[in-house]
Subunit: 306 residues, 3 copies
């Protein structure tokens, strides 16, 4: 198996074998993350964030630096040449002269795939439009595997904004490669898109329409997402659902002892602060796992691990 | 003595022995600063500037890079997750997964201490609200010690905005650990806060109420601060005091030959440009000393120097 | 010959011998660019961009990182101390304590030279006002030399905005050191400034007043520039010339087979996308040559190559 030179645009383009290999490589990255390495010395990662995402940008930068590489990039599109009317295709063809791999975040759907068609170096999709965010899905899988000892056989609930949140689409596709039961728990306004559900239903058991309290006793993993105000066309709709689907100690009373809670972060109030100190809370550990998963991805697509 | 793992929140939490040790360590950093080193190879400094301060940010970055470490961070809070409603506690618990030490600048008083309570890695306060700025105080002390051969026995005047300027509080506390005479010279509107004066008066001689020309013949160190427009609740008050307390060649006529002038920078017009070429002017050397003092702090709290 | 410690403010301060030496050094940088090096380990480049230019900033950063050095800097002047009223002279005298070389981009003419007078470390002008942009001229020369096997004897056309575009002034001066025939092709509103033409006319043959189609059959190099909206005092004037002087397949019908097209980028629509896939198009290779030319400049002025 060889991922050298591969673009990471959609989780759907990775086989279960490839995903498992990335997760296994992530295991081997943990000691390296702690002491640093020279695996990617002389290599440069360009982070092109046409839409702000401090957390994702810093996570990739940390991963690259821990491997001995360097980073360049921008987080303020208004400072970029884009402002002067440059096309994305041109920007990519310029930046690939400065770097060995590009991480792209863009407000428009399809932007990452479009960029990959022009680039001669690997492109990693860090979110485009409300589409997939494949490295988030990989780190979510890694967190589940690491904290639960494996993925097959688990009951997993995705909770909150399943329509506009870009992480849940990638995660649902990824989970459909494993033997899991998937609960989708959301306000009807924010149900997961039909095409995603149709796609995964043939592969795994998907249960929609239950309330949070009904699914909690049965789940091993509770994946909570922020209800993102900026994705709402109408703020009065946001007001209606805000605060529903909030996880607090009371809601968790019926949960299994070894249930775990994940969250792509940032969270606002969908997981109460009182939950942070319970053994359920794995969302900050998830951040750490994100660094080592991204290290694995960078090392693999740049050919430092084969 | 061991500073490994220590937060640097307030100068008041450091003993004179610890301060002297930091200053002594800074001496040993100067040759390293000139040629670079691998002392902190594999370590990452996160600079979280929720309020802009180019100079302080670049100074810390330079210090880290000279030690062989790397840096990540942000200088534009509006680009950060904060915009999405994330709490400072969450931001810190995320960022500590990306880094080995955090430098924090925040507009709110107490933010650095609050962050330190949540962080498992060391936090360095680079200014929170109009409170302390401990690393500036340390570099001020270092400049005095280096340029005057020591601190004990000196007559030192703090001039300008002693109320809103955050560097002077930390410096006053720090100087109270030494045997100095301290003149506080400011418009009455901008007098140093009562609680600071009360605190240091028991330890050193503090003289308030004199004019600039009265103190100049007696002082060894003139520490001038900018009258910061952005700290004034009322701009007409700013207009009244602007330009008072300006240091120029005329004002310096009565000064001792070996008197030195320090300034935390940036300066606007409180020190006339004609002073720059006199032997009194040490404010640009002070910038260099800031790099080596910050190298010392990073090396000590990350355990590279014991 | 020794360029150690030299400022790069204007192409006019470099002799043909020095330019040729820089270009020759760039040749030797290409293998280093591919695998990285430790030539400038421990050195820091400060990029001070008081005006945005993502491309130039990233190009210099990449060059420095490929040589093993590190970078600090800012791209958002509003975040900088400048906002607090600091003079450029003070900013330079501060930043030189953090770095070994400064790359400066500034909206005001003469800013780079002014900075160089205050700095004790080398300053590289990355554009000040509508004046010169010397490293762009050097990479343009390198591209011509590399793609055509040499510069002497060529017919070269500069096309588009020859008045406000800052790259063409530097390039015209640089070309006047070689034995070339120079066509200047622009709307009359955007003719090259009289003083530049007077200066180079004594050295090389300069032909003005011809249309694009008249010169194309005769030229070896077509250097196309963007008609920069932001340089126009009057937007109705911009509307008039926009789209004129556009290069497309039709216009290129009469061109020599081995003619090459260069462009400082970003382009908007002055070179049609259909041209990108022709052998004429060298503007993306030019970006790569920019990295190795800037590596050569950094290595030379920091004394790593002698």
């Amino acid at each position: 198996m060889d991922l050298e030179g591969r673009d990471i645009i959609s989780i759907r383009e990775l086989t279960r074998e490839e995903i498992d290999w990335i997760l296994k490589t992530a295991d081997s990255m943990e000691p390296i993350a702690k002491k640093g390495s020279d695996m990617l010395k002389g290599k440069i990662l360009a982070t092109l964030f046409f839409e702000p995402s401090t957390r994702t940008k810093l996570s990739f930068e940390t991963a690259m630096l821990k491997l001995g590489g360097e980073t360049i990039g921008f987080a303020e599109p208004e400072a970029a040449s884009i402002k002067k009317g440059e096309s994305l295709a041109d920007t990519i063809r310029v930046i690939q002269n400065y770097s060995d791999v590009i991480v792209l975040r863009h407000p428009l759907e399809g932007a990452a795939r479009f960029a990959a068609e022009y680039a001669e170096i690997p492109i990693i999709n860090a979110g485009s439009g409300s589409e997939e965010h494949p490295t988030q899905a990989l780190l979510d899988l890694y967190t589940i595997r690491r904290e639960k000892g494996g993925i097959d056989g688990l009951n997993i609930a995705l909770v909150g904004d399943l329509r506009y949140g870009r992480t849940v689409h990638s995660l649902a596709y990824a989970l459909s490669l494993y033997n899991v039961k998937l609960y989708l728990v959301s306000p009807s306004l924010l149900r997961m898109r039909r095409e995603v559900i149709e796609d995964i239903k043939g592969k795994i058991e998907v249960i929609e329409g239950l309330g949070l309290e009904e699914v909690i006793p049965d789940v091993d993993v509770l994946y909570v997402t922020r209800i993102q105000k900026e994705r709402f066309p109408d703020l009065s709709e946001y007001a209606k659902v805000k605060g529903s689907y909030m996880i607090n100690l009371d809601v968790l009373k019926g949960a299994k002892d070894d249930m775990i809670i994940l969250h792509p972060l940032p969270r606002v109030d969908e997981v109460a602060v009182e939950v942070d100190s319970t053994p359920y809370a794995k969302y900050f550990k998830q951040v750490w796992y994100g660094v080592i998963v991204r290290m694995a991805i960078l090392a693999l697509i740049l050919g430092a691990v084969k």
